[in-house]
Symmetry: C2
Subunit: 360 residues, 2 copies
């Protein structure tokens, strides 16, 4: 297989990154198995404490000798009024009742300073644990942090949804840019423009980014099999990041109902919503999304709305009520399979080596 700059940077066999999905999906088994199979496993650590990161890092190191990466959320200081929080909290009252979840009168929401401190602590741990690759979503870290990570020779990956964002990622010194198309499941990674103006399909987005940045480009969004991998390479990406395809794998920690829902749905049931977290994200339409739709544009920003819906999502998961779970999925659910990571990786790579060299 042709060695590209991307493969050199990732120190992997194949240009395939397992998307760092947050919220318990990226189990140590999943991350380790992807890396063992020659891809790059990633911990979705956005919501994780330093201790949780330490614990998982040590677990993964016992499962594989190959390297893996981690993803962090860059905190944003978005103004949210007390009144808006109260209003949004009220809108959840009847659902709390139905799920028999205590509906608190006042909810503690994370403040920006606290989030920044948490972020610093996550950075500290990944340096201590010598995790060699770190990707960021929802923006880029500050210059001092970038400088410190580079001093520790950590490979940095930024996320972009438009050409301008990709240029910003390169200018800030990131080594690789993950280009997230409108097809992608879960949270949108936009950080410069409105989400609605950052919903560009990969067929358009990749070649336009390729023409404007020099760092290796990784395509993300709706890629599920060898066809998507090959198409991404044709468009000028050096590799792919796949989320939904790994989410339904046996090793993933996604809720069984979440996996089932993806395996049973179609591309026209996948919608964008702010209802779960205050940030636009793509997932399977369910009752929660439908009922909250009329309030959607007025809900408080991430992570406030995320805190408000936490107890609902937790109860729904425990009681197996998928109508109130956040069933994130990209736009290719018909291509999802419940299979081992090794089977998925093999199907991506088979017959690929030859064509890959022909194309690049």
């Amino acid at each position: 297989m042709l060695r590209t700059k991307l493969i050199d940077l990732l120190n992997s066999h194949y240009p395939i990154i397992q998307a760092p999905m947050a919220g318990g999906i990226t189990t140590s088994q999943l991350v380790a198995e992807v890396s063992s199979c020659g891809g790059l496993g990633m911990i979705g650590a956005g919501y994780m404490t330093p201790d949780q990161i330490r614990e998982q890092t040590s677990e993964i190191k016992q499962l594989t000798s190959r390297q893996f990466g981690i993803n962090l959320f860059v905190p944003n200081d978005l103004p949210v009024s007390e009144k808006n929080i109260e209003w949004a909290n009220e809108k959840l009252e009847s659902i709390c009742k139905e799920l028999k979840v205590q509906h608190p009168d006042r909810i503690e929401v994370p403040n920006y300073k606290h989030l920044v401190n948490q972020f610093y602590e996550q950075i500290k741990v990944l340096i201590e644990e010598k995790i060699p690759i770190c990707s960021f979503t929802f923006g880029l870290p500050s210059e001092p942090i970038i400088k410190e990570l580079k001093q520790h020779s950590i490979i940095l990956i930024g996320t972009a949804t438009t050409v301008s964002e990709a240029i910003e990622v390169e200018n800030k010194g990131m080594d690789i840019v993950v280009v997230q198309g409108s097809e992608a499941g879960g949270h949108r990674g936009d950080f410069l423009k409105d989400t609605q103006e950052s919903l560009i399909g990969l067929m358009s987005l990749i070649p336009q980014v390729v023409d404007h940045v020099k760092i290796p480009i990784v395509a993300a969004g709706g890629i599920m099999d060898r066809r998507g991998l090959m198409a991404s390479l044709c468009l000028g990406a050096q590799g792919v990041q796949m989320g939904t395809a790994f989410l339904t794998c046996i090793e993933s920690g996604a809720h069984p109902l979440h996996k089932e829902a993806i395996l049973g749905t179609t591309e026209d049931q996948i919608v964008l919503t702010r209802a779960f977290s205050g940030k636009w994200a793509r997932g399977i339409k369910n009752r929660f999304i439908s009922e909250m739709q009329e309030y959607e544009s007025s809900l408080p920003a991430f992570p406030v709305q995320n805190s408000l819906t936490k107890s609902i999502r937790k109860a729904a998961a425990l009681e197996g009520k998928k109508d109130f779970m956040s069933l994130w999925s990209g736009q290719s659910p018909r291509l999802a399979k419940n299979q081992r990571v090794s089977t998925l990786m093999k199907s991506l790579i088979d017959e690929q080596s030859k064509s890959f060299e022909d194309l690049t």
Copy 2:
């Protein structure tokens, strides 16, 4: 070059269709030149009278001996109330004033019966003129029409934006399906689901359609160069349909300001709007779209809103005011060039023959 079923059906050298853009863009020079260069030129005849179709057909036949196709809009019977029409007409009053266009108190809007008769007449002409290929948007024609066209050995192309629509296109007996991704410029071709649920990126849409239909698939949306062509073939399409890439060509009849606008914009300025026609369409954000945005969801359906805005669009074009023109564009404006059709075709085909055979 490998002969695929698509190339056999189109009787072209290359699996490249020039999208049938309506409204004067597909001049005889454009259509003829695309066909002469080995692709398939298409007349965007949605708004054309039988006489106009006859005239253009005869013009094109003088310019090329190769075959070309035509596209028609399938009429839809969408209920629109008088009150809604009056309300929407009022919303245009201040813009009419600014453009010094007479703002009529009452507007004659096309009724469904009339549209169906017009459609029958268009069908009659294309049979008389022996146009060998006909594509449809906004739905599928009735069974008797399909039967009649087939008796005249006319190759039929349907447009789909979801897997269900592609299956419907195949089941109704179409020979080819154009699969329109969310990246595509101009009007959305959805006819079974809401537009918002039919905005699937090509990276997701093509392989999912490939797994569900047997007729040849043509990818459409954001494809501008060889990278997009090759990626589409990787995903399982047999060819591509390109709109914006041909729109900015020298031979196209698009307004010079329209071409200029595309050549000068970026992917994050391209939005979806119902403001011009009552049907969702993708184009460059301008004052008209911004000012109408708050009314968007309540505007009367196509073709009523299209009739209401006709005088505004006409005056804007005449006076060169692009703030009030419908500047349709796909999501890849950065890849657009003002070039000859022959240059574009050559750049698509160069080095492609070899790889095309490797891939399929």
